[in-house]
Subunit: 411 residues, 2 copies
Amino acid sequence: MNAEIISVGTELLLGNIVNTNAQYLSKRLAELGHFVYRQTTVGDNAERLAQVLKEALERTTLIVMTGGLGPTQDDLTKETVAKLFNRKLLLDEVSLKRIRERTGEIELSDANKKQAYIPEGAILLPNDVGTAPGCILEDRGKIIVLLPGPPVEMENMFERYAAQHLKHYSEGVLVSRILRIFGLRESQLAGILKDFFERYENPTVAPYASDGEVTVRITARATDKKQAEKMIAPVAEEIIKRLGDHIYAEGKTSLEEVVIEMLKKAHLSIATAESCTGGLMASKLINVPGASEVFKEGIIAYSNEAKMRLLGVTSQILKTHGAVSAETALEMAKGVATLAGSDIGVSITGIAGPGGGTPEKPVGLVYIGIWFAGRKSVKKLQLHGNRNWIRLKSALYALDTLRRVLKTQSK
Amino acid sequence: MNAEIISVGTELLLGNIVNTNAQYLSKRLAELGHFVYRQTTVGDNAERLAQVLKEALERTTLIVMTGGLGPTQDDLTKETVAKLFNRKLLLDEVSLKRIRERTGEIELSDANKKQAYIPEGAILLPNDVGTAPGCILEDRGKIIVLLPGPPVEMENMFERYAAQHLKHYSEGVLVSRILRIFGLRESQLAGILKDFFERYENPTVAPYASDGEVTVRITARATDKKQAEKMIAPVAEEIIKRLGDHIYAEGKTSLEEVVIEMLKKAHLSIATAESCTGGLMASKLINVPGASEVFKEGIIAYSNEAKMRLLGVTSQILKTHGAVSAETALEMAKGVATLAGSDIGVSITGIAGPGGGTPEKPVGLVYIGIWFAGRKSVKKLQLHGNRNWIRLKSALYALDTLRRVLKTQSK
């Protein structure tokens, strides 16, 4: 069923809070087979709220509203909906009792009492977490769901009471599968998967870029989850075939989680030596719970002196090739593995800028070195962007390079 | 001026991501004197996007749009806006050059080239972080601002380029002064500055919490900048008096920038030893350009073995007090300063969770050690939150503790 979400609250329009409700509901409605075509946020103003609601009713069948059910004067959602559908607001005794228990007031204030009214004929949605109940109103072929604004109350009410009703209205489900990609830009992806992105059929395929990574989302609409997954499978298979090793995971798994998992499985330990990234790669690895099983130690060797003393890089190599070179990267990787007694050493050395670049070695030049039980590999990068971006991409590339080395190894 | 925000992206309607852009823009537009009356989210669909845009144009003067500027086929925002206003899309050579530099492609693919087109007569908004530029189109008394979808790109473009234009459309000037705070929660701040926050006058005072820090923004509306600054001064003075040492900087200066600056001024060098934060503190310090002048080296000693071998923590101390203790923190700080030959050593050791907690040493227990030319200081923290949050807060607290030590020192 086509759906729209209306979020009510001046605090949203002032930017005081993020609208997490709209995301939550969009996702859950899709899973229940209702596709959200529009999300609208409007303030606590009866006239503008009525306008938004009227417009939505002209376009769509299912409207889910959050906010404006509370005790204060500017909580207007129920009143506006009731007026629009010519329904009286009736006192719900069960809700009244619950509000009494929850507030500890025997003689309820008018403000608190106000919350216990719901439109005549509506299905009550109890609020187990707060005081204001919600409801579902069916009228003139439309379905309007009223939920409270506080996310904890909204989610509880949705999952315990609203979802089961909404299931009945749906003609099917929407299921998504997400492929996570590293080493390709969104524009490159657009070339490789052009035919998929242009399909506006079922399933749909769409790219998404964020924080240095790209994902591809495949979404199918079907009568049930199994059927949807069956529709996604051949599309995913073809995309996986085309992108090959560039896909590092599915769903929400991060690059560092993949690497830690691979290391654990292969019973391999790791140590890191970082120059320009200054601990960013190690920090990402250590953010994975249980990283201590495989992460031995990390050295942040920013100066040449530290590279020599801690990692055993020779002054000869630094003099001949420079601190930012394939040779230094490899010595750093070997050095840290030796120091830590780990199976693998990974290093990053580069010029993050803004200063320090030369025509031969410009800002953004980065070398990644990997020493793995005596075998060496090195990757040269020329990155573009500000200092923070170059450092982030360097750390991600190091993780991805390690992932590819481990993958080859396990074959 | 009345404003609306239109967010474009099917990923928002599917609930794959939270719409933080709408919040950010609502807040910033208000500060610039534009009140947002509606936020709308629509998918990557030309027809529905055009419909939303047409409706908004009937209601409002200023429309700020995010998303749909990228290289793929379903990025349609510019095309839709150009069509609606009968404008051609013209190739912008500066953007083209920038995309070439950023992607490293000499012969740009059609997908990448697509991004460099903007509607005829529009004001260009450069993208310093990504590839797709934005623009501002003025037509028929309306102002349409197009910004990219990824929050990092959007915020950079808004602050560096869009905001100054949007200032001109409001009457008078809005001037903000930002005080950066560490060591107080937003709710504590609400207590201390209650009287200021409740003033809905001119200037306004508002708190912002993000990424473990809190800021207070004082905003005045006046006929000119000088007048606005004059209105802000006494308010700022009173707030600074109340918050004292908790204020570490003004404007956009980060905690790590303050620390690096203090170290530079005092000609002091530093080395870091991190356990649970795994390089996060060092990484923050090294993100400051020119950090190499004062940062000697960092050790990520996750295991007890590494703490002993690299930092000289004795097995006696580890056995008696444990790896997460004031004693170990101090030994680590001293150890890394000795190893690096630096004036100052800073250490972090703690339990970031989710596992590893005990009733005596629960998850979130963190010790920060500082060794400064023979003098020792230690700070014990009990943090709450997930692993990532505990690690972030630990790194920030370490920087703040060092800041306070350096401040006392310089007195």
